[in-house]
C-alpha cells in the first residue's frame, strides 16, 4: 500500500458528522473537525510509527542540523559524499552518550573522552580514535562531530508525525479508518456535551468501541494491523536473524 491508498479527512468527516447529528457542521466548524482528525492520526502515529521519512541536508559549516519539522524520533543518521542522487560513500553516525558540543571545532565534553586517563571511565572507543562519527542533541538541533566534515551531506531518517508529512487529501491508512472515526467522534462529543448532555451518551458509546487505553477496541485493532509485518518482510527478517554474522 502506498500513500495514494490513504483516505482523506473528508471521508472520515462524512461518517463523523452524521454520527454527531451535525451534517451542516453548525455545532462545530469544519476546521475544528479537521484538527481532531489530525490529532487522531498523530496519536496513532506516536503509538505505531507507521510513517518513515528522511531529509537530506548539506552539512553546514557549524555542523548544526535543524531537526526536520515532521520528525518525531530519529531512526537513523547517515552521512555521505556526493549528492543525494549520486551517493559515492556513506557512513553511519552514532549518538554519543553524555557528550556536549557547541558545533564544529568548538571541542566537546564527555565522560568518555579520547585519550582520557580517567580511572573510572575507560575509553572503550579508543581503538577507533577520531575516526568514529557521532552526533549529539543541543538546543533541539543535531550537532555533528568534527570528523563528519569529511562528508558532504547528512541524511536524517526519522519516524514522522503523520499530520506533518501527509496532506489532508490522503492522511489516513484504510486499516485505521474505524479507529480514527471513533476517536474523532469521541473527542468531538466530549466537546459538545457542555452544550447538550445527549452527547455524553454518544461519547461513551464511541469510547467503549474505541477502548483507547485497553485491548478490546478499534484503537488496539488499528495498532495491531499497522504494526503487522507483511509476509515477505517477516520471512526475510527471520532469515536474516537465523544467519550467523560474519
Amino acid at each position: 500500500m502506498n500513500e495514494y491508498s490513504y483516505i482523506s479527512i473528508n471521508e472520515v468527516l462524512a461518517d463523523v458528522t452524521v454520527a454527531l447529528g451535525d451534517r451542516d457542521e453548525r455545532r462545530l466548524s469544519h476546521g475544528f473537525y479537521k484538527a481532531q482528525v489530525r490529532n487522531a492520526m498523530d496519536e496513532l502515529g506516536f503509538s505505531t510509527v507507521f510513517l518513515e521519512g528522511f531529509e537530506d541536508t548539506e552539512i553546514p559549516a557549524d555542523h548544526k542540523i535543524v531537526l526536520p519539522a515532521a520528525a518525531y524520533r530519529i531512526k537513523n543518521l547517515h552521512i555521505f559524499k556526493g549528492t543525494p542522487d549520486n551517493i559515492t560513500t556513506m557512513s553511519n553516525v552514532y549518538w554519543k552518550k553524555g557528550a556536549h558540543s557547541e558545533g564544529f571545532e568548538t571541542g566537546f565534553t564527555a565522560n568518555y573522552y579520547p585519550g582520557s586517563n580517567d580511572p573510572y571511565y575507560g575509553n572503550n572507543l579508543r581503538s577507533y580514535g577520531e575516526s568514529i562519527y557521532w552526533f549529539i542533541f543541543h538546543g533541539g538541533d543535531i550537532v555533528l562531530s568534527d570528523g563528519c566534515a569529511d562528508f558532504d551531506y547528512v541524511r536524517v531518517v526519522y519516524d514522522g508525525i503523520p499530520s506533518g508529512i501527509l496532506d489532508e487529501a490522503g492522511l489516513i491508512p484504510p486499516e485505521a479508518r474505524k479507529a480514527v472515526v471513533l476517536w474523532t467522534i469521541e473527542k468531538c462529543a466530549s466537546f459538545l456535551k457542555v452544550d447538550d448532555s445527549k452527547y455524553r451518551t454518544i461519547q461513551l458509546d464511541a469510547a467503549s468501541q474505541l477502548d483507547e487505553y485497553g485491548y478490546n477496541g478499534a484503537w488496539q485493532e488499528a495498532k495491531r494491523r499497522i504494526k503487522y509485518l507483511g509476509k515477505k518482510i517477516r520471512r526475510d527478517v527471520i532469515e536474516y536473524n537465523n544467519r550467523p554474522r560474519a
Binding site: S29, H30, G31
Partner: protein, 238 residues
C-alpha cells in the same frame, strides 16, 4: 413558497365573517385582521420550521459582496429572517471557488458560522484559521460579515435563508397563496379568534342589548386607603 393553498384573503374574510356572526357590532377592518393573522402566522411558522428539517421555507438569493472600511467583506441580508439560535435562519452561505466550475455554489465553498465574540479563538491553530478555503461568517444585525476573504476576489455569494412573513408589509397581495403550513391553519384560526374575542369583550352591563335601560352606575363612594386611617373616619370601618 407554497404551490397552492388558501390565500390570505380567504383566511381574513373567513375570520371577519365568524366575528360578525357572534358580534354584529364588531368593526374589525380587513387590514387589522390581516395584521393579526400575519403576526400569529409568523410565530406558528417559526415554531413549525424549528421542528422540521425541510426545504419548504428555504429562500435562496444571490447577493453582491461589499467591502467595509476595515477591509472585511460583507453583505446585507436581502430579506428579514427569523432570529433563531446560532443564526440557523441562515442555512448556508457559499461562493464560487473555481471560475468555470458549473457545480452549484453551495457544494463548492460554504462558510462556517461564528459569533463575532468567538472569532479570535479561530486564529489559535492553523486548521481553524479563516482563509479563502475555510471562510467564516458572523452576523451583525442585518449585515453578515466574512472572515478569510480579505485577500480573495469574491463578487457575490449565494445565501439560503429562512425568511419571515412581514406583518408590516402594506403592499401585500391578499390573493397570492399564503406561505404558511396548511396543517396549522386551524391553530392559526383559533389563535386569531382568541385575540378577537378578547378585543371585543365588554362588561355585560355596558352591552347594547336593546332593552333601553340605563347603563349601570359607577361606584360613588369615596375609596379610603388604610394608610389614611384616622379616628374621625372610624365609623366607616365598623
Amino acid at each position: 413558497m407554497a404551490l397552492a393553498g388558501s390565500t390570505l384573503r380567504y383566511i381574513v374574510y373567513d375570520l371577519i365573517t365568524i366575528f360578525k356572526q357572534t358580534y354584529d357590532d364588531s368593526d374589525i377592518t380587513p387590514y387589522q385582521m390581516t395584521y393579526w393573522v400575519l403576526t400569529h402566522a409568523d410565530r406558528l411558522r417559526k415554531q413549525h420550521i424549528e421542528k422540521r428539517d425541510t426545504g419548504e421555507y428555504l429562500a435562496m438569493f444571490d447577493v453582491d459582496v461589499s467591502t467595509d472600511t476595515d477591509g472585511l467583506k460583507y453583505i446585507t441580508i436581502p430579506q428579514r429572517i427569523y432570529d433563531m439560535d446560532k443564526d440557523r435562519a441562515i442555512k448556508f452561505i457559499a461562493y464560487q471557488k473555481e471560475v468555470g466550475d458549473v457545480t452549484p455554489k453551495y457544494v463548492q465553498q460554504t462558510f462556517s458560522r461564528v459569533a463575532a465574540a468567538d472569532a479570535q479563538r479561530l486564529y489559535y491553530r492553523t486548521e481553524e484559521t479563516p482563509s479563502a478555503t475555510n471562510p467564516y461568517f458572523f452576523r451583525v444585525g442585518d449585515i453578515i460579515k466574512f472572515l478569510g476573504l480579505e485577500e480573495a476576489t469574491v463578487d457575490s455569494v449565494e445565501v439560503g435563508l429562512i425568511t419571515t412573513l412581514d406583518p408590516s408589509l402594506v403592499t401585500l397581495d391578499l390573493d397570492q397563496p399564503f406561505d404558511f403550513p396548511q396543517d396549522l391553519l386551524p391553530v392559526l384560526q383559533r389563535q386569531v379568534l382568541d385575540i378577537g374575542l378578547l378585543a371585543l369583550q365588554t362588561p355585560r352591563d355596558l352591552n347594547n342589548d336593546g332593552t333601553g335601560e340605563a347603563a349601570g352606575q359607577a361606584p360613588q363612594r369615596k375609596m379610603t386607603s388604610v394608610q389614611d386611617f384616622s379616628p374621625a373616619d372610624e365609623d366607616n370601618y365598623r
